[in-house]
Symmetry: C4
Subunit: 231 residues, 4 copies
């Protein structure tokens, strides 16, 4: 069942390790089959080097386990909240990658100050609000998803496929699991460059003209840029 | 004698190198057999690539050599002080890992500003007080242990398995040697992220609600998080 | 046609990856045959590990495709502007390498504060002006080249073979593609050291005597330094 | 002639690359045979991967070439000045390693703020004065050596085997070429940790008691520390 999706999710999880975004069992990737309304996600607490595609857990959009002998990642309710709220996305990634997590801990949006940022994320990468006592004591992982969704009330999640959960870490998404991992890698690079640039010059400015230009030459109607890639 | 413990301590010492926490012969790991009251520890000044499990030195809780042809690590009295004061721990690690040592040199506790920190260390990671002339001129390595133990007068060493010795470097511990190394790796990552986050935003704040939530979902009575791992 | 140049450009593009200056398909290298007036350049959006020398695209100085089945890099008009304005150069490189891009985002010239900088770049590495609405909405990649060329109105591009395009990233050049990549590697190292040095001491000063000395012992009439290399 | 010394110098030069302290042909190591008064040193501008032990150049203490087909490193006069002034040293290293060079560019001594620093370097690592016009225009590489020697007028070069040449980079030395490289590796680590510590806490303080204790337990009359190593 969903063998192809499970393979994709499995390989996207391994790619997180290969790209240096996670240590130990940290981080998780999921992917969705929109027609069937089913999600494949990494199991909880399993070492990456012992994992196989068959260990991926299949759940429905309400979190019921449909297939799999292991528990799904404890972050599953957050992934599901994103799939329910953002119908265009096909894959979700959560990491504790160093620089993106540090911005989450700093509690600040990552400012859009470069063309690479504009190419991939269009606007500042938003940091969520503090969670309330009710949210933390309630269904915490679900509420983490709700806090993200509320932060995107006036942001297009397709144009800005990343968020920082305050004091926690980043989530990214994309059209499929591999694309979500790609965005996680670029997010970490963007977060690192923004850290260095702000330390050099706290008063830096971005030319707003570049933001629209770079975003549109890659994603706009007359896109002419690297078949959706950067070169 | 204690062959299994010596193997575990040996492999935990090699893991320090593999994880990039030590260069040359820096760093050391020990483990204890609580029933026998004996500790296996890395020998002093031996290159990691020439070391075998049989080179591990066995000492009792007072530091008497029970087995081994080489001298035990010069930090042995510090390890023993921790085993005597913290009866629940089974392994101790000392490194000069880059970011954790820099915080030791800065003389500041590492503030708990993220959920990963809360998952593993519950509270701020404490930095010890300056050692006095008597302590430095006396039995220095033993007094280093005593300074650590005094700093934990009102801290639970099981919940916060790490310390920064001021102007020196970190010690971590755990339920066994491998767990103590795991905590040393996470400490270094937490120290790096806290450095970046504070440089970005010196006025950052942590949501205290997250601290209890994250610590308890992993270690509390109703723990539901990754079989003690993070995912 | 131009088989040797295409091989050189191909290998210079792979060297960018090997040196850690690019991720994914980011970055591009070109080289020129001045006699024929033809340029070989990396194709757009092709993965580095699938690329062969035959994939390099050959264009003339006005950008007409002379040979090749793929589209040339979208940055081709910038490369061509540099070849037209700087007749002594034989290769051009564009990367988003971490520290050089961060200086571009900070919008500041990289100050010449060390002998390595003086050896390779003679003076501060200039950052371009903000692009105007006309430039961004017009032939953007060509105008990026024009902005660079204007910035070099009173700078010798042979002595200072690097530029930062504001909010974008660096371009470097050299006597051939390999030399341009060499300069890109050194630029990234110089950018990293300048970041660290300025963070340590914002009030740092350079001894201007060293600038002429180091530049001239390598490039001047009586050059005696490592056959053009540094040792 | 001096085959064993040439092998040692050759391997010490390769170790610089392996430890990540140099890129391209940057950096050089030499060693001295005090009885014969002859020095073996890396040739100028030769790629590390093409170098053999036989390429090492042998010079006397006045810089006359005694053996070798290639030119000695252009930094040879600096090495010779150090061998003449510091009779106890047997090897010299020059690198442009990232953090140590950044401190040189910052123009500041690296403060002794940790026990590792104290173990290896005893006191602050001194940065030289600005060179004068006469020195720069004269026999520049010799004068670089003289500036270092003057800086050590009241510093023991055996206890503090490292210096930062202002706006240039570090030199280290030791009892033989391998020991000088070991000190170059530790210097880079110490420079990195001091950068991080100072950024975290510009007002940091060192306990002076630790300096003597750590230096003496390793180098003093009753040294008991790791057979001269750190563990």
């Amino acid at each position: 069942m969903l063998q192809e999706l499970k393979e994709k999710v499995f390989h996207a999880n391994l790619e997180l390790v290969k790209q240096g975004l996670v240590i130990y069992t940290w981080g998780n990737v999921s992917g969705i089959d929109r027609e069937k309304g089913l999600i494949a996600i990494k199991p909880s607490g399993l070492d990456y080097d012992k994992m196989t595609a068959d260990d991926m857990v299949v759940v429905d959009l309400e979190g019921n386990i449909v297939e799999g002998k292991l528990r799904p990642s404890s972050d599953t309710p957050t992934h599901l909240a994103l799939y329910r709220a953002f119908p265009a996305i096909g894959g979700v990634v959560h990491t504790h990658s160093t620089y993106a997590t540090a911005w989450s801990q700093a509690g600040l949006d990552i400012p859009n100050i470069g063309t690479t940022h504009a190419d991939y994320f269009h606007k500042d990468i938003p940091c969520t609000a503090d969670m309330t006592a009710e949210e933390v004591r309630g269904d915490y992982e679900l509420e983490t998803g709700n806090v993200i969704v509320r932060r995107f009330a006036d942001i297009d999640p397709t144009a800005t496929p990343a968020v920082l959960v305050k004091n926690h870490g980043p989530f990214t998404w994309g059209k499929d699991p591999a694309d979500a991992v790609h965005n996680a890698v670029v997010l970490e690079q963007v977060a690192k460059m923004a850290f260095i640039a702000r330390t050099i010059n706290p008063a830096l400015t971005m030319n707003p003209l570049l933001i629209e230009k770079h975003y549109n030459r890659k994603h706009g109607p007359g896109a002419y840029y690297g078949q959706g890639k950067q070169d």
